[in-house]
Amino acid sequence: MTAREEILARIQGALHVRASDPANGHGKIERTYTRTTSMNEHETIELFIDRLVDYDTEVIQVASDSEIAGAVAQSMTKAQETALLAPAGFPQEWLPTSIAITLDENLSHVTLDAEKTVITTCEAAVASTGTIFLVHGGTQGRRVITLLPDHHICIVRRSQVYSVLPEALAAVTANATKPITTISGPSATSDIEMVRIRGVHGPRSLTVILVS
């Protein structure tokens, strides 16, 4: 017997009394927790900003797409950064003209490691946890480009912000088999005496540009 056959046989031997068919049973699981909320957009955005700030994320709000480039420049100037990495095909108009731009055309890890700042869009966000969903590819970039640089600037549209996790997860389900990363604040550890330290291996700074 192969290992597969043997393990499956052990399972089938142990589960001799079977309940209904799996799909039916799964459908019947009681889900009385909050799956949607009645929060309005204003409340949701307020909560989102509160959570982001709580986890050390810089938030810049802009009224329209035309202000994005200015916000990017503002964040980078503050951080004293001069060069920006963006996914290939990233909209030119969102990038500040005053800053040197590198587009990720399958750049090597070593090249990417030298980059300090990266910009992407996102797929969805969760207000109650301050979480951003990246479904990788396109303007959300390959996984590696938001990992090696130390500062990640992420453009989030107000319409992409859901109040609770189940809503956001439902919004990305269609893309469930693409690589997905959820980001909640900068990388962190509490492994030494439970002291929260910001920035271990992932980006040490996270900026959200919230676009109306």
Partner: protein
Amino acid sequence: MSIRVGKAAKAPAFPIAAHKALENNQLRANVRRATTTIRNKRALRVEEMPDWESLRSAGAAIKQHTLAHLDHYLEEFVRNCERAGGKVHWARDADEANSIAINLIRTYTPKDSTAPVEVIKVKTMTSDEIQMNHALEREGIVPIETDLADMIVQLGKDEPSHIVVPALHKNRTEIRDIFRASMAQPELTDQPEDLTAAARKYLRERFLRTKIAVSGANFAIADTGSVCVVESEGNGRMCLTLPEVLITLVGIEKVIPSFGDLEVFLQTLPRSATGERMNPYNSLWTGVTPGDGPQHFHVILLDNGRTKLLEDEMERETLQCIRCAACLNACPVYRETGGHAYGSIYSGPIGAILSPQLQSLEHSRSLPYASTLCGACYEVCPVKINIPEVLIHLRGRVVREDQKTLKGKLGVENIAMQAAATIFRSERRYEASQRLARIGQLAFERKGLLTNLPGMAGGWTATRDLKPIPSHSFRDWWKSRNNTTWSPKSNMSQGGAN
């Protein structure tokens, strides 16, 4: 069969190991501080969730449902993962899983390579369970742990003492000394910021140069074939993204039916584990994505004793565990002893039920008794594992096994329990034994106290006094009491505090 749970085979019984742990004041202070911190943070983050109990119930229901159809969901996961370019291997036990991993690492290592083969690892308790690092090292492969706490444990040649924060038993000075010795950084301070920065620097080049990674998984999702890793530091993302080859070790109980089920676990796990609304990073991937991340992806599905727990419904509950370690932080026993006393990488309440069921060992027979059954573990469990109930169930197994042997039958505890059971069954015998005990205790009574009893009861009086059985018992009082009818605010019968 080589079912193994870490180094449990060589572990001493819990009371002996606990005695040693209790003598280490530094360790106890570290454990107490850490567990108190996480406990309080968890309470804060749980309180803000009005639907917490519903989430717990749904989490338990999803896990129970999955386990009841485990073969179905495993096969569904395998189909979807392989369709997306992953390759799934099945391992009956620790040795089989390790040899699959070693063969894969050999396959992907250039034949002419003379440098030692390195693999980077992202926190996986399952790999500790099967002692993968030892197996790799025996083959000349160098495993590099990349989670900060795991790194502290590995560089300090130590063992993990907690499921989520494996180095919680070490304080900053101890960690600084370990880092100074192994990173050639004699000037390193003990500031957590500096220690973390040192780890970042030490690992960054290793992340960039290493071609093979080994990870665990928090969830394997059947309907998409995806795998999910939950983490905070970004070392997980590094291991899952940078290498060319990724080997993911998954206990068979980690499968969940659907992507949508994450809406429960991604809410309960971070709050329970670290007291965060959400941990900084969750990575989800499905097979291989051209141009993004490892182009060779292998999953090892591990049994290692898990299928033995499926038959009995109470034992099966153990497999619902999502390894959040909330039960460790809540446990008043763990709080005193830390994790090493449990003699297994799975410590605390969940370890006390998981280890003895995975691997039947002499030492693990003491683990079901390493609890006061206070229920704090069950109260915080995000998938509602009734740990006290499983502990009692396992105690029953230990007693039944013991009673089959002559030594067990003649054991002091068994005789005392049998005698007590006989006495409790009869009023006459109960009263007679009270009278007898009153006489018997005279030999040990000093100034109206029992301070030095023999045998098992000596475990009590070594550190505690005991009041002797009073000359006038409740039963005597009840028989002789005035037959006054009770009503509120009326003067009640005499008696009162003594």
